[in-house]
Symmetry: C2
């Protein structure tokens, strides 16, 4: 097995993503030693029972103290408090990273109170499933998926390279972006689709009860694909929308205009307009298949 | 193998659904003889090459003349013209059915000009993939999926039972509804989700070009699931929206209100509202998993 990239890896927040990182880091030999930290006692018991880490602790500062790389994998709302605890606890030369779906909070929350000599390298692996909790993770989650790394002004080049090497070792491809650009890209590729999926599922669940039962029974006709997206972690997503408010509202505005165009075409029996718009969408699908992201 | 349910089966429109019916009917022995009809010469060549039917014709009247069951599997806009041709051509006692995603056009288009003694039994199998054309069909497409049968006033009970027996033989479960109720259920479970998927894909494709390339690259984050739905046949879907205009516009109105609620909660940082709405959606997903439709 290749040489480890990290001596001691601390993972703060051990849900689907955190536990998948631990499993992948072990399997690939990316880290010599893994310290798991989770605020919830049932999660800590599961981690211990499944032997997912070398050490399991409740206190983030304790987990971070000896770590060379700390990866925060909690909901975004935990960042400001965590930032304060980690900033003081981490050793000089260590790297602080995260996996959040919005990068602004990594700067504002984790980065604000960092001690001198501790390097912030925010990251975001584009991977996930509809399941939550340490038991739902698996080592192959990041295989051939992108991990976007968003180094900030003043980050030493070596620190960014170590984070990229770590993600490559556990199977990902890496790309770099500025945090602001990342947040706009994700607003349209991820946040708005999730918001719409959540909404359409709720619209269906507010129907009169006879109709609602049938929505479930006949969900294979398209609805089902939306519910899969809408099964994701509610607290994680609440934090995403609050943290990426501006980009999400901007993209929602654009979507609104396009929905209005579609509705108007239906209302006025404009078949040619509909066919043109549907054909255009089909082309985008083909690009995704060609880019091997399907 | 069990006794055939149909002696001669004619399938008019031999795309994904039509060709899957033929494959399944052969495999299960549901029909003794299959006549395929498609208006497009390349489709007819593919049918002949893949030996998907006993006879391949271009003229619907010719295909229907000797058939005991005629299944129309074309886009809905072909129904009025087809209805006129089939109504005169079919033999007494034969059954005319279809597979359309909206049932109103089966009554208005196919049913309007039916000769006396020919029985109309509209049906709709809830199954499909993003692919089109005779080469993309497969015999297992309908396995364990629902087929909704919508008999009309005056349909002999035996005719409806034969159609149900046919769908069961090729693997489906069957249910009955009135055509109008079917069209409302499908508006929310299928038509509105497809409309939204088409729209969101187009919104993304209208972004400035640097952002658009990244949407494709990072589509695994949620967007991809929408593009799969949006890859469906443009002409088929154009016809669906025009034919089910009232129910689709009603459901879109409800969805609009719910989107506005979500947007407002984001704009005003109402985290508790978002978390409550997301948790509610997650419950619906669990019902679908429990109903084994996931």
């Amino acid at each position: 097995m290749a040489k480890p990239i990290i001596d001691t890896l601390a993972i703060i927040g051990f849900g689907l993503i955190g536990s998948s990182i631990a499993r992948a880091a072990r399997k690939s030999g990316a880290a010599k030693r893994i310290v798991a930290c989770d605020a919830a006692a049932p999660a800590r018991r599961t981690i211990a029972k499944l032997k997912l880490a070398d050490e399991v602790v409740a206190d983030p500062a304790k987990a971070a103290a000896k770590a060379d790389l700390v990866i925060v994998a909690t909901p975004l709302s935990a960042y400001p408090k965590l930032g304060k605890a980690l900033g003081k606890a981490m050793k000089k030369g260590a790297i602080l990273s995260d996996v959040g779906s919005v990068k602004r909070p990594a700067l504002d929350g984790l980065g604000a109170t960092l001690a001198k000599g501790v390097h912030l390298v925010p990251a975001h692996p584009i991977a996930g499933t509809e399941n939550s909790g340490p038991e739902s993770g698996f080592a192959e989650l990041f295989k051939d998926r992108w991990c976007i790394v968003t180094p900030v002004r003043g980050t030493p080049k070596d620190a960014a390279r170590i984070v990229e090497a770590f993600w490559k070792r556990i199977g990902s491809k890496t790309a770099r972006m500025t945090p602001a650009h990342h947040d706009r890209v994700l607003a349209i590729t991820s946040h708005v689709p999730h918001l719409i999926a959540y909404t359409i599922v709720n619209t269906a669940s507010d129907l009169e009860s006879t109709l609602r039962a049938e929505v479930i029974k006949y969900s294979a006709s398209g609805f089902r694909d939306f519910t899969r997206v809408a099964a994701s972690h509610p607290v994680m997503w609440r934090d995403v929308f609050l943290a990426n408010k501006d980009a999400v509202l901007e993209m929602m505005g654009r979507l609104y205009e396009d929905i209005a165009t579609m509705q108007k075409a239906i209302r006025h029996d404009e078949g040619a307009t509909l066919e043109r718009l549907f054909s255009k969408a089909r082309k985008i699908r083909r690009s995704i298949v060609q880019a091997k992201q399907a």
